[in-house]
């Protein structure tokens, strides 16, 4: 069991600095997800934690022990790679045991560990097969198994499910979650898939350009995104964004964009805001609901609808502002018809127009 601490970490690749001055503390037994688009530095960061990428500044501590320059094999970690990286000419059993044999561990102990890992991952019946004779999901389990037998304190996952099809991805996601529950080890998981992040993480670190934009629980990252980037990156269907300004409407503060008005008096601003402040309004489609006769309804005209199975994503124009919103199958929403919605401003997000940070 291990906690991980990154202090002022810089990681470069050649002359390009990927990670800048990064501070991050991961608690013992936590499942932390590094989430972000390609090129944001999450894989580089993971490699640095694993000792596979050289650090150009700062420190890495495992349980308060400085491991910045320790060899990967001595860090007590196990790693699962995106392309599995199984040794193709060796059987599954050998793949699992090879590292342990090199380390000179007693045969009987190796056998026990392999057996335990194989049973935990349900690959015991595959021990004699070569990787080429396995399916993608089976190969990934073997890759996880290889990390398991190392008795690692910290597990690193580098986009392990990206090469699998959607159904397998969902299956293995569940397996990994169960694994974490069973082993209670610290797990650091890199992905660009927000669903994986939201379902697996204890905390998510959303990254962009080598900098952590927000570090918080999945719920908070989703409901209270720290900036515009995080708000857009999480959530499917995507968050609506409207540029406008705050105005005083009688005795209330409102958001104005053209003719569109939204009363923001119930929104919990983190800092004092004044009239005239230019802001971006972020609204998730599921927080714009059919009015159903409510008094605070906003009227608009539906442009088109996208049926998505259980619900429908409708695109409508309200006082000149185009918004996507979710409606149920029985709410009578059709294209080119009028439709009324209510907007729950407490679930909205306001971002500064210049910096993008949450207000």
């Amino acid at each position: 069991m291990s906690s991980v601490s990154l202090e002022s970490l810089d990681v470069s690749y050649g002359n390009v600095q990927i990670v800048r001055n990064l501070d991050l503390t991961i608690r013992d037994g936590e499942f932390l997800v590094l989430l972000g688009p390609s090129g944001c530095g999450k894989s580089t960061l993971l490699s640095a934690i694993g000792g596979l990428a050289d650090v150009s500044g700062g420190r890495i501590l495992f349980n308060d022990k400085d491991v910045t320059w320790t060899d990967p094999k001595d860090r007590g970690i196990g790693m699962v790679f995106q392309s599995y990286a199984l040794y193709p000419t060796m059987s599954v059993e050998r793949n699992l045991s090879f590292g342990l044999r090199i380390a000179g561990i007693d045969r009987a102990i190796i056998e026990k560990k392999v057996k335990w890992a194989a049973e935990l991952l349900q690959i015991a019946h595959l021990l004699d097969r070569k990787p080429s004779a396995l399916s993608g999901g089976q190969r990934q389990r073997v890759a996880i198994g290889r990390a398991l037998v190392r008795d690692a304190d910290i597990f690193l996952f580098d986009e392990p499910l990206s090469n699998l099809d959607a159904k397998l991805r969902a299956e293995l996601r569940l397996e990994i979650k169960k694994l974490h529950k069973t082993l209670k080890s610290t797990m650091i998981y890199v992905t660009h898939d927000q669903i994986e992040a939201l379902t697996l993480a204890d905390r998510i670190a959303v990254m962009k350009d080598g900098i952590i934009q927000q570090l918080d629980t999945p719920l908070n990252v989703y409901n209270k995104p720290a900036n515009e980037f995080v708000g857009s990156f999480l959530g499917s269907p995507a968050m609506n964004k409207v540029e406008g300004a705050l105005v005083v409407d009688g005795d209330r503060l409102s958001f104005a964009a053209g003719d569109f008005r939204l009363d923001v008096s119930r929104y919990p601003f983190a800092e004092t805001v004044e009239s005239g402040r230019k802001v971006v309004l972020g609204l998730r489609p599921e927080h714009i609901l059919p009015a159903g006769g409510s008094a605070a309804a906003v009227e608009g005209k539906v442009s088109l609808v996208e049926p998505m199975g259980s619900s429908i994503l409708a695109w409508s124009v309200f006082d000149g502002v185009s918004l996507s919103h979710l409606v149920g199958q029985d709410d009578g929403c059709e294209a080119d018809q009028a439709f009324a919605v209510t907007i729950d401003v407490q679930k909205a997000s306001f971002f500064d127009v210049e910096t993008g940070w949450r207000l």
């Binding site: 810089d10 470069s12 800048r20 001055n21 050289d54 150009s56 500044g57 320059w69 900098i211």
Partner: protein, 298 residues
């Protein structure tokens, strides 16, 4: 979030094992490189010496008296059998043999590869397999019957004879190269052209050939090298007037009576190597591509 630039990278100091490891690697590579370069060096150095200097027996020393006499002699007056007109005759012969052989063998290889890749010809794959198998068999098995047939048809010891021979023995590799390359092209191109009504030759000339530049370059490099460096086939089939440079080189060096003119020999050797060396140095990566493609046989 402005930051000051960090000072230069704090690199982990290398362990002494790592340093010695690097030293060892470069040392090994360096020593072996010297071994490989030695013959080239000796060839050049010897060719610029006078015979007096050579008799001193210091094979590695640079020429004290730099002279190009040996080169002139090798090119214009060395004895290549009955005549003593130097290697320039051989050079011309090699070129005469090279150009038609390369052109014809590559064209045939391309057509064969194209037909094998895109068209269904019954028995073609069996023929191709036999062709490949034939390329592994030593020339000696084929030579005598070919000689007899050439003699009967009057092309023995003539330029067409040697060109035909090179085409025959180059066909397996050339066909393999083009076939493998064309197999990698999208078959949709071909299908679209057929739907448009184009026939065998139209598709080949308008669509396939223009896309063949990469493999054609590789093929040219391989054939030029193979044919220019050939000895046995030229010896048997070219005929006295068309002996290639390699055969003449061997005659100059190994069949002179009296004291050997080592400087002339070495100059002759370098002259014979100039063309393939130039091709090699200029072709860079393509040369290796050629080797790798040819190696896909096995």
């Amino acid at each position: 979030m402005m930051r000051q630039a960090k000072p230069a990278v704090a690199r982990r100091p290398l362990t002494y094992q790592e340093v010695w490891g690097r030293v060892g690697i470069y040392a090994f590579l360096g020593v072996v490189a010297l071994f490989f370069l030695l013959p080239l060096y000796v060839m050049l150095v010897t060719s610029f010496k006078s015979m007096d200097e050579i008799r001193l027996g210091l094979i590695f020393s640079l020429p004290q008296q730099f002279t190009i006499d040996a080169w002139v002699k090798a090119w214009t007056s060395a004895c290549t059998g009955l005549e003593c007109t130097g290697l320039r005759v051989g050079f011309g012969n090699s070129v005469k043999i090279l150009v038609p052989s390369v052109v014809v063998s590559i064209l045939l290889g391309a057509v064969n590869g194209y037909a094998l890749s895109f068209w269904k010809v019954k028995g073609a794959n069996v023929l191709f397999a036999c062709l490949l198998l034939g390329s592994f068999i030593p020339y000696q098995v084929f030579i005598y019957p070919l000689v007899r047939v050439y003699a009967q048809t009057g092309i023995y010891g003539s330029l067409p004879g040697i060109v035909l021979t090179h085409v025959i023995f180059g066909m397996p590799v050339m066909t393999l190269l083009f076939r493998n390359y064309y197999s990698g092209l999208p078959v949709e191109l071909f299908k679209a052209a057929r739907i448009d009504g184009a026939g065998f030759w139209k598709i080949f000339i308008s669509i396939i050939l223009p896309m063949s530049a990469p493999i054609a370059i590789v093929a040219v490099i391989m054939q030029v090298t193979a044919i220019w460096n050939d000895f046995l086939l030229g010896l048997v089939f070219a005929g006295r007037e068309n002996l290639p440079m390699t055969v003449q080189l061997n005659n100059i060096v190994n069949t002179t009576t009296g004291e050997r003119a080592y400087n002339v020999n070495m100059a002759a050797t370098v002259l014979t190597s100039l063309v393939p060396l130039a091709v090699y140095l200029l072709s860079g990566r393509w040369f290796v591509r050629g080797i790798a493609s040819g190696a896909v046989k096995g």
